[in-house]
Symmetry: C2
Subunit: 306 residues, 2 copies
Amino acid sequence: MEAVSAVATTLFADRLAEAVERKRSQLVVGLDPRSDLLPVELRGDARLGREQAAAACERFCRGLIDATAPYVVAVKPQIAFFEALGADGIRAFEGVCAYARSADLLVIADGKRGDIGSTARAYAAAYLERSLHGNGEPVADALTVNTYLGRESLRPLLLACRREGAGIFCLVKTSNAGEDVQDLILSDGRPLWHHVARLVAEWGEDLVGERGLSSVGAVVGATHPRAIGEARRILRRAVLLLPGVGAQGATPADVARAFTSGPASALVTVSRSVIYAFRVEGGDWRTAAGAQAARLKRDVWTVSGW
Amino acid sequence: MEAVSAVATTLFADRLAEAVERKRSQLVVGLDPRSDLLPVELRGDARLGREQAAAACERFCRGLIDATAPYVVAVKPQIAFFEALGADGIRAFEGVCAYARSADLLVIADGKRGDIGSTARAYAAAYLERSLHGNGEPVADALTVNTYLGRESLRPLLLACRREGAGIFCLVKTSNAGEDVQDLILSDGRPLWHHVARLVAEWGEDLVGERGLSSVGAVVGATHPRAIGEARRILRRAVLLLPGVGAQGATPADVARAFTSGPASALVTVSRSVIYAFRVEGGDWRTAAGAQAARLKRDVWTVSGW
């Protein structure tokens, strides 16, 4: 039974590569809904209760999906912004994920989860598996994860990568100034994050698909252009998920060297500069987001050299 | 206004110390509800849908709170097990947290969250702050956090510690075999987790209360008895949260040296060996959990030397 389902399941890396090539897009839009930043037509003038705020955030994300779907290969809902609205927020998160999948987009749940094995199994169930109690599809195609707890904490997630065709993106070098931990120098002279990158490469070896890419990817901040090249060298087969373009200051040109392992070997994720474009540029929020996404898609595809 | 609320708010570390001394307990019960392990009277015989499974998990946790409240100072719901049941699970999580607070227990939400600053603000709002959209109390008193993203990612949570009287427990040395990252040796010859411990001590300096303990605590697995002594030396003022006693193999005696900074300077957290005690010992599940908690409370208080 397990063998059958393993054969029937396409690896995440292959599903992603197919979608990137078909859409000619390596762009991912990050869905970070903040009720206080929503268009006034969605948030109204009054102070919203949680249920109303969650409903407004869901409408916002659905509108963004409609507007950007032609230009992006995946959406990356940041779970924290939904968690901030409690159970109503999580209901909205589930609605947004289902809506994105129905629009033929991949869903990367951004939760940076990580815990010991028995708890990691619960995270796999929550995001990547056809649940014991649910009916049908997993909530997301991939999950971002934190690796401070080591390989043992990843095992249930790696199993979901194999059995369910899921993907994970491991934090390697984040887009913020995380240098007080990630840049620590180890006894062999290398920074900590190089070591983590090597672990991630190793964990992904058994999950390499037909296009030569692994379902175990890595998060590398586009705000560190030199780090992208170093990560690419260590992680030849990983899909690099690159936040930091736009509001955090990086440009499409900064990420060019990430794409040397294939057109789908990196994904550029943009959040605020797309979803809140209307706050800078005025006009309809959907139109503003769609225009930004279209422009970034072209720019990234061009610098990727494919 | 801010100054007033800062004065009016008691630091988490002081609230904890008061509760530990009043109850003569340093025991925390971890609430890790798994629908497949529930007592048959709660799960029934049929395959549960998500909503029913979440309701059953909530009843289980409420029963555990009733049974163990006299013996424990706090509960530690593991969010992952609630997340695995989606929005229904999070609704149950909220109900469990509110119920525990009404039973005069502190609530340590175990999520091991960690992200860049703008997202960390959302986590603070989700768990530690009186929400923009909620009415009244924060969901939890404290949150476990992952520090791989460095100080910048902790700032909004540290602010919640100051303004809301919240606490955080930073992952330092976890109870699993996380040695592939945490035990890496740095260029100065020390393991990575020692460095993280030192950062945690530094982050907590401004949040030391009247009993000499900080609201910035640290998670140190009781499965590494030698590490407890080392962590205690580095983190003189931190409350050490010690998982691993019971199902993971550590004994109360293994944690004795954690308590040298005061009766509330360490908390022993037990999950499976208490909440699923009925599966080993038979009888009523509440009675079994209460008996285990009562025994562990006494054992820990004794080894703590207070």
